[in-house]
Symmetry: D2
Subunit: 436 residues, 4 copies
């Protein structure tokens, strides 16, 4: 930094520590510097030799200034995180040499210290500000978008991901049931975050959590307060459902017999900034445990899931059979029961092939939802076609849905076979369709 910069820096620290007492958030604006400069300088100060209490105030300034940045300025900010808060190459060389000479645990520790980018410490210090954790999650969301434009920023996401995975460790999460006695502010968030089967307002929301045969559970983290991190919607039914319509619109079941099946029909991650921090698996397992204890009559835990990649995959196939099905599906079959009946075996056959055999990156199942549930140790139990007539579902999956079955005593072995051999557990219906 030049001399002028340093003078500003001194003013800055002076200003913050003086103002912090008065509780004013306007400190830096008073210095009449652009937000981009304030954000960068505050980060520099935060890494300097200031007291802990001043750090809280400086962290607040840094995050506030960040909040005022334009998209372009954010990219600049991330570049500064990458370039100004990295490592000291000479320190790495020295530490490596020491380790190379004597590769014991102590030398590893020294090397670790040299290799950890200083931006990890910076993020921890930014987290001192009130409400900082959620703001850092949102900052990472910005970063992920920025990386799409500028892949060279990718390395710094490793530091965000590393820290957030540590902070959002499952041991720190609490599950809460959400119902009609939940504060409206939380319910409103759920409506906004639901993207699998969007809600049409408060009455729709109420139907999903206030009926006796509907449940909604979410994970929360103490540092992000009333922000639901992930939530799952459950319907209690008799038998495994084969279409989403009745679940979303039906009134309460009048069946006097108790439900025997819990259907997970919508799972939503709320915060894109927590991408890669896995909650879904834990949430499903804990809901299964809670429901089993509360309702011992439940025998079957199953999803009713979308198949978001089916239509695109089908478009990419160029064998005659696939082409024929694709062509038929391009028509107006929805209102033509005969057409549905006729196409049914072929649609199932191709859908089974897509789920069981189609692979994407790293040999994983091509379908992202399949990847998630199969990785959790579930079984692709049953294809349902047509099961969802929402425009989005028609466009992405020709209305196809799947039930993934969670069988507690087979989850672990299925998970293992999936990870080790890429084996896709599937039910008899899919097996039959594959042989068609």
């Amino acid at each position: 930094m030049g001399k002028q910069r340093l003078a500003f820096l001194a003013d800055f620290v002076e200003a913050i520590t003086r103002r912090a007492r008065g509780g004013e958030a306007e400190t830096l604006k008073a210095l009449a510097r652009p937000a981009s400069e304030r954000a960068r300088v505050a980060c520099a100060v935060l890494m300097g030799r200031i007291g802990d209490a001043a750090r809280v105030a400086v962290a607040e300034q840094a995050l506030s200034a960040y909040g005022e940045l334009t998209d372009d300025e954010k990219v600049e900010f991330f570049r500064s995180l990458r370039d100004d808060h990295g490592v000291d190459p000479q320190a790495i060389r020295n530490a490596y040499a020491a380790w190379d000479a004597s590769p014991d645990a102590k030398a590893v520790a020294g090397l670790f210290r040299a290799v950890e980018p200083s931006r990890q410490a910076l993020l921890r210090r930014l987290n001192l500000a009130p409400g900082a954790t959620l703001r850092l999650v949102r900052m990472r969301q910005d970063l992920l978008e920025a990386i799409r434009e500028d892949p060279d920023l990718a390395p710094i996401d490793q530091d965000f991901a590393h820290l957030l995975a540590s902070w959002f460790n499952r041991g720190f999460l609490t599950m809460r049931r959400i119902d009609w006695n939940t504060p409206a502010a939380i319910l409103e968030k759920l409506m906004r975050y639901e993207s699998v089967h969007q809600m049409q307002g408060w009455q729709d929301l109420k139907r999903r959590l206030a009926l006796t045969d509907r449940r909604l559970y979410a994970f929360f983290h103490p540092a992000t307060g009333d922000e639901p991190l992930i939530f799952v919607e459950v319907a209690l039914t008799r038998g495994i459902p084969d279409a989403i319509g009745p679940i979303l619109t039906a009134p309460e079941s009048a069946d006097p017999a108790p439900a025997d099946t819990a259907v997970f029909y919508s799972i939503n991650n709320s915060l894109p900034g927590l991408k890669g921090v896995s909650f879904g698996n834990f949430l499903i397992k804990q809901v299964v445990a809670e429901l089993s204890a509360e309702l011992p009559e439940l025998r079957c835990f199953v999803t009713l899931s979308p198949v978001p990649g089916f239509a695109a995959w089908l478009r990419r196939q160029d064998d005659p059979r696939s082409k024929a099905v694709a062509k038929a599906l391009a028509g107006d079959w929805q209102n033509d029961p005969d057409a549905v009946h006729a196409m049914h075996p072929e649609v199932e056959a191709l859908a089974a092939r897509y789920i069981v055999e189609a692979k994407g990156k790293g040999g994983q199942p091509a379908d992202p939802v399949a990847r998630f549930h199969l990785g959790n140790g579930a079984c692709a139990q049953r294809l349902n076609w047509p099961a969802d007539f929402a425009p989005g579902a028609l466009a992405s999956a020709h209305g196809l849905m799947i039930n993934y079955l969670y069988e507690l005593d087979r989850i672990e072995s299925r998970h293992e076979a999936f990870v080790r051999d890429g084996a896709v557990a599937h039910g008899q219906q899919l097996a039959d369709a594959l042989n068609r």
Copy 2:
């Protein structure tokens, strides 16, 4: 591992995943293996290719088995953490070579991944078990003791320290006022943890938190629930107190004039396993903020602190003046007002020298309590002798106590001067005594 080991391992995973459903904690005992083996194997399994849900059960097994270990077995366990859960040297070499060839952020990220000991991931996975965080804090306490016997274990403490500092980030802590409406289970812990001025039972405790002129505040962390991590006891007084006796034993002040001074007379860290994770500074600052808002008449925030290193330091001095004072203090001066009066100037002179000039490791003040408060930006305002007649205080400090003054508008500059120049802020009384 040998073949037999592997067979056991398979049994183990099988057993855990089968039993986990039944909720039984007795899985491994049933396998009739010693706890030390179970703990080690569970850690190995935890790092293997098992599903997330199984991890929760395995983590529980590992921590339970650890809980059964003898001190010697714990040392063995820590050695296995060091030796079996470290790094892959070849991976380090490769990552270093890549970085050396092209030292960009991406290469740093790769190097970081190679250098992070796998035990960090292990600790994060152990944290999946219910209540694990507190158990890991206690495990670190064991480790710190083990290191005293075997310094070669020290490097792995870096991993514990690193993780705990991240988890116990100040942003995750909540401060609560503790009073007579606090659950007895928490109050009982406070009694056990108070070590500066020990409590003599429930009536003593009640005097410290239920009187209108007494306060007690503590930090809590969501993952450790009702465990107070650190707490500070406060007395509201008129003027700065010069002895601890009246504060510990006096009934409620009958003075109708409102208090003008808040005295921090006892600060206790509860969990030795959180050594080095700094809370005290934040707690004091937040209590000052809270009291200022609630009681605007308060003008002065000050401690009444012990001087634990004074007696030992004095013993080590061999100049005639020090020797004379040490000799006089060896006598029975407590019950001799004349003796006290006569010795007073000399005791103060040496105490001032101890606080202001005596240095320990790294040029820091020799006295640990002085180090803490001066590092926080406080000022050594006033010596009080004799101020504490408890046997411990007589033995360690000849009854000397100090008031450290927290002046909000000077904290930052004092902190900076202390860090930069080692300057010890002190009041006029100490300045005078130094010149004696």
Copy 3:
């Protein structure tokens, strides 16, 4: 009761006490008797010699059976309350004779016991059932409707009123602020209960309680849980508002200057069954106290109230002046600023006369809302015309609204003058209008 009745009675008690253990609510239905008989018999049993625990079960049966009654059966039930659960005339005669002979406090006590209808004890025993209090409030609502058909039932309302006034004593109520963090189930009730300025759904509700310049407070009773008994909606404004439209529809005020006025623009009693139990006065006073403490800049506490009786009163006047105004108001003046301007002085003159001089039953002000606020010690400060263009407000008050002013240091003297002399406190504007 005849013999057959008695046999049934024995079965009944037997059945209840046997079934109560099983927690089944179906006891009496099993006896295959109509609900009206079950309700009456359960009341008889409740007044008999059964144990306290059995009473809980029988009270539950009585209230459940009541819940199944048709309107006509309810009238029958109330007649049975009047005729079967009254007093013993001979006991009254004896007690009166004893008192007449020696009219001391003891004799009064005896007479009181004889004169208290046994239905008061019955109602207290019905209250043993879970959730009974709210059900009894609803029963009284039915009773008030039944009395309109059959005025001879009126005397038993005295017993309901007496008991409910005692149970809903202000000392048992708690005030809560309602905001966007309140459970949706409570918010939904508010939407239903708001009848002064009806809400158009959740967005409308949110505008009334989540903006920084809007507040909503309600009284709750421990025995009726989440049922808001009465609530008041408040807008914080600069100056006294003269129309309701901006309050109901305006976005948050962007005025940087703090509000100086709190406007109570809607007060609703939720439960018709609590008619005559006065809460409104206490609620307003407590909200004034709470807002004063929180926002010291508030100078003025005022309502913006409807005038529900104005149009009907005007219709009843037959002096030429009133007739002229009534005629003009019958036209389409709403969209004719010139007409409004021309009529303004005359409308105000008559409105002032209505508020200040028109009397109803017992010499009280004719307007019910005026009665309430003037009785509370408020002052009819200002007429606003036209202020409310909602169809209901146009029909009942030609769009007129009034600000009643609550001045803490004059409330008591105004209340006293109102009660003693019927004096209607009013502002200068009304005084001027009266002289027109």
Copy 4:
């Protein structure tokens, strides 16, 4: 009241309403009148024509002034309640005449209004002050003591009893389990209120509620907040215990078999001012319900109760057999196993006679504890002698204790037989002893 009085009264109201705004409680003291006069005048004002809000302030003044009264002044105050806040004889005569002429429900209502002493309304208005309910309960405690000195005050207790029974209706109570997580302020109250088996401090308390085989439940009322109204202590055991010592002092049971018996070994009413308002029965029943649901292995619900009237009753007997036993019990038998063995059959025989046959007022069992449990529908199951060596228990019952058995399916029939026929349900052991 004379003229001077009236002038004071005006000052008084003026002062209160002026001061109330300032929130000062010192209003009346400023008027320099003795507390007894202030209390009386405030009550008079409260019954006058003042506004609701002023009533809150006046009620506060009345209760504060009452709190300053000496015992003699309290008696005077109660006399004024009796004489100044009673009934209007002429109104009674008129209402009676009207009823006599036409004895319908309406006339009864009129008579009821005339006969209800105005002090009931006064008490309801006093209850407007913050925290008034508990203060009124304490006022009744004073009244009950005053009545012992001056039985002519008894009639006004009817009004207190009537109101408190209505306010403390079981429907308004909530049961809470008390354990080691309960606020210390509540636990401290329990220690003070426990009078059956007094507690020796916090360790003793902890043993009674923190061990896994101990429970403590209490009833609370919303208006009296953290004041436990009644509480019961429970031990979970195998088999029915025959002595209190092991329950009070034994460490946690190490028996791996689950408990089959819940022993209610101490029931305490906390507030003497609630005498006659029955809670105990409901509390026991609800604890039985709660424990049954939580611990299905529990088969037997039983008390271990004192027999407080046994020694006094035995002293009053003058048959030779009783005299012989009384004489033997006067000796030092406690430390003489042979003596105990020898006396055992005779002590049991007389104890059985005392429980089953001895009657007091109204033909009820002479022993008050027996009266309570038998009235609840319990059975005097087993005599235990000697079972309690505490000095009090030796003095009042020669160490005798009884197990009363609560059998859910026989409670109602036993209650009925007890009420109707005075039948004392008892077990085989007592039956045998009676025949001795």
